[in-house]
C-alpha cells in the first residue's frame, strides 16, 4: 500500500478525523470567526442585512455602564467564591484522606451537588433561602434570617456565593484528594523520621507538592465563576432591581433581549479576554514556583 501519497493521507484523515473536524469547526471555529465579524455589524437578529458599522459596537460596549458594573460584580463574586470554594474544598479533602471511618461515603456525598444542573440547583436554593431559612429565623428568633436574603442586593450576592461554594467544593475536593494521594508515602515517612509532626508534614511536605492541584482548581473555579449563568438565572434572575446581574447574563440580555447582537458579541469577547487574562496570569504565577519530588 502506498502510504506516502497525498490521496492516501487525505482519505485517511477524512475517514478518521472527518466527522470530528466538521462538527468542531461548525460549532467552534466558524462561529468564533463569524462572531468576530458580527462585532463590526449592527445586526438586530431578524433582518437579513447586517450593516457594517466599524468599531461602533466596541465603543458601545466600552460605554455600556451596566456592562462594566456587571463585570465588576462578576470580579468581586469570582474573587470571593474562588477563595471560599478552594479553602472549603481543601479542608474537605484534608479531612477525607486521613483514613476516617466512612470517608468514601463523605467523598461521594460532598460531590452530589455537581451531579445536578445549575437550573435545578438554583430553584432548590431559592426555596431554601425564601422559605426554609426564613422559617428557621422565625422559629429560633434569629433576626438576620427572618427576611429572605434574596430580597436585598448584598444578600442576593451572598446567596450566589454560598451556592457557588456548595456547588463546586465537592468537585474541587476530588482534585485535592487526588493531589493528596499522589504524594508518595515514603516522602512523608522520611519527613517524620526527620522529626516532623503530622501537621508539619502536611504543610511543609504535602502542600508544596500539591501545588499543581491548587493551580488547576483555582483555574477551574475562576473560569466557572466568571461564566456563571444558570444559577444566576434561576436563583436571583438578576434581581432585586438588576443588582445581581453577572457579566454573562448581561451579554445574554444585550444580545437576545435587546437584539443588539453586535454589541452583545463585543461584550462577550471582552468578558472572555478578561477571564483569560486572569486565568492565565494565575496559572503562570502558580507554575513559576512549582516544586517536584
Amino acid at each position: 500500500m502506498k502510504r506516502n501519497t497525498m490521496s492516501y493521507k487525505i482519505r485517511q484523515y477524512l475517514m478518521f478525523a472527518g466527522p470530528a473536524t466538521i462538527l468542531f469547526c461548525g460549532v467552534v471555529v466558524i462561529p468564533l470567526v463569524y462572531g468576530f465579524y458580527l462585532t463590526f455589524t449592527s445586526w438586530d437578529g431578524i433582518s437579513k442585512s447586517k450593516p457594517f458599522v466599524g468599531i461602533t459596537n466596541y465603543i458601545a460596549a466600552f460605554g455600556d455602564g451596566a456592562f462594566w458594573v456587571a463585570m465588576g460584580r462578576t470580579l468581586i463574586y469570582s474573587a470571593i467564591a474562588v477563595i471560599l470554594v478552594n479553602v472549603m474544598a481543601f479542608l474537605l479533602a484534608y479531612m477525607v484522606t486521613r483514613g476516617i471511618k466512612g470517608q468514601n461515603f463523605f467523598r461521594a456525598g460532598f460531590f452530589i451537588p455537581n451531579l445536578i444542573g445549575g437550573i435545578v440547583l438554583g430553584y432548590v436554593w431559592k426555596f431554601v433561602f425564601n422559605s426554609a431559612f426564613v422559617a428557621i429565623g422565625e422559629n429560633l428568633n434569629i433576626g438576620f434570617l427572618k427576611n429572605s436574603w434574596l430580597g436585598t442586593p448584598s444578600g442576593a450576592m451572598a446567596c450566589m456565593i454560598i451556592v457557588a461554594v456548595w456547588q463546586y467544593a465537592g468537585y474541587m475536593m476530588l482534585i485535592y484528594v487526588a493531589g493528596f494521594m499522589s504524594v508518595s508515602k515514603s516522602l512523608i515517612e522520611a519527613a517524620q523520621i526527620d522529626g516532623c509532626t503530622q501537621s508539619q508534614a502536611t504543610w511543609k511536605v504535602i502542600v508544596p507538592l500539591m501545588r499543581s492541584s491548587f493551580v488547576q482548581c483555582i483555574f477551574l473555579t475562576i473560569t466557572r465563576c466568571f461564566m456563571v449563568y444558570d444559577v444566576n438565572l434561576t436563583l436571583t434572575e438578576g434581581g432585586p432591581f438588576n443588582s445581581s446581574v453577572m457579566a454573562a447574563m448581561h451579554v445574554y440580555r444585550t444580545a437576545f433581549t435587546e437584539h443588539a447582537y453586535g454589541t452583545g458579541q463585543a461584550e462577550a469577547l471582552i468578558l472572555f479576554i478578561v477571564c483569560a487574562i486572569v486565568g492565565v496570569t494565575q496559572v503562570y504565577i502558580g507554575r513559576k514556583g512549582e516544586v517536584s519530588a
Binding site: P31, L92, G109, F111, F127, V128
Partner: protein, 290 residues
C-alpha cells in the same frame, strides 16, 4: 519512652479523627440540607409549605403525593425525559466514536492537518460558550434555519465536546497503546480502520468510560445551548422544561414546583447510586488530565 510517646500520639490522633468525623457529618448535613428541604416539602400541600416549611410532614393536610402526578402532567415529564435521554445518549455515543477516531489519526501521524486540528482543539478548550452562542444562533437560526431539531442539538453537543475528548483519547493512545501492537496488526493484514476498531479501541476502555461519564453529565444538565436551539415545546429537555415550568407557576404552587425539581434530579441521582465509584473516578481522572 518512645513507645509511650507513640501511644500518646496515637490517642491524640484518634481524638482528632473523632472531631473531624463530627465536623464532616455536620458539613454533610449542610450539603444535603437543600435536597432534604425540597424532598420533604414536595410531599406537602401548599398551605403546609407556606406555614411550616421545616415540618417533616405537613401538620394540616398531612403527607400527600398528589404533587407528583400534577407536576408530571404539567411539565410533560415523560416527554422531556425521553428528549433528554435521546439527546444525551446520542451525543455521548457520537462523541466517543468521532473523538476516538480523530485522536488515533492525529496522534499517529505528523501531518500538517493533524497538527493544526489538534492545536486548534486544545486552544478552543478555553473558549467559553458565551463567546460562541450569538454567532451560533445567527448562523444556524438565521441563514441555515436548522434550529428546533434534536439532531442539530446532538451534533452541536458533539462538536463542543470532541476537543476535550480527542485530547483525552490522544493521551491514552500515546501512553497505553504500544506501536508494536499496531505494526503487528498491519503485518497480519489489518487496514488502519480494522487496526483501530479491533486492536486499539478495545484497549481504550477506561478512557471511554471517563469521557462518557463527563460528557453525559454535561449534556444532561446543559441549559444554555439547548434553550437556544430547542424553542419548540415538544422538544424541551429536562432543564428547559424545569425552567419554563417554574416560570409558568410563578411560585404560586410550590408543592408542584418542588415535585418537578425532585423529578428532574431523580434520574441522575439514581444513576449516581448505581455507578458512584465510576463517576467519582471518571470525573477525577478527567479533571486531572484536563
Amino acid at each position: 519512652m518512645y513507645e509511650l510517646e507513640n501511644a500518646q500520639a496515637a490517642r491524640r490522633r484518634k481524638i482528632v479523627n473523632v472531631i473531624m468525623w463530627v465536623v464532616l457529618l455536620v458539613l454533610f448535613i449542610a450539603f444535603i440540607f437543600p435536597f432534604i428541604m425540597a424532598l420533604i416539602n414536595a410531599f406537602k400541600a401548599n398551605t403546609d409549605i407556606n406555614r411550616f416549611p421545616l415540618a417533616l410532614i405537613g401538620p394540616r393536610k398531612g403527607f400527600i403525593t398528589s404533587n407528583f402526578p400534577t407536576a408530571m402532567e404539567k411539565m410533560n415529564f415523560w416527554g422531556v425525559f425521553g428528549n433528554s435521554v435521546i439527546i444525551t445518549v446520542s451525543a455521548t455515543v457520537l462523541t466517543l466514536l468521532f473523538s476516538g477516531m480523530c485522536a488515533f489519526v492525529v496522534t499517529r501521524n505528523n501531518w500538517v492537518a493533524c497538527r493544526l486540528i489538534f492545536a486548534l482543539m486544545i486552544a478552543s478548550m478555553v473558549i467559553p460558550f458565551q463567546v460562541l452562542m450569538i454567532p451560533i444562533v445567527s448562523i444556524y437560526g438565521g441563514t441555515l434555519n436548522v434550529l428546533n431539531h434534536r439532531l442539530t442539538l446532538i451534533l452541536m453537543h458533539t462538536g463542543f465536546s470532541v476537543s476535550m475528548a480527542t485530547f483525552m483519547y490522544s493521551g491514552a493512545i500515546k501512553t497505553n497503546i504500544p506501536l508494536e501492537l499496531e505494526e503487528a496488526a498491519l503485518i497480519d493484514g489489518c487496514t488502519r480502520w480494522q487496526t483501530y476498531w479491533k486492536v486499539v479501541y478495545p484497549l481504550l476502555g477506561p478512557t471511554t468510560a471517563t469521557v462518557a461519564i463527563i460528557d453525559a453529565m454535561a449534556f444532561w444538565n446543559d441549559y444554555l445551548l439547548p434553550s437556544l436551539v430547542l424553542t419548540n415545546k415538544p422538544l424541551y429537555t429536562i432543564p428547559i422544561a424545569t425552567q419554563i415550568f417554574y416560570g409558568s407557576m410563578g411560585g404560586s404552587d410550590m408543592g408542584c414546583v418542588l415535585a418537578a425539581l425532585i423529578l428532574a434530579m431523580l434520574p441522575i441521582l439514581i444513576l449516581y447510586l448505581v455507578m458512584q465509584k465510576y463517576i467519582v473516578e471518571g470525573v477525577t481522572s478527567g479533571a486531572v488530565k484536563g
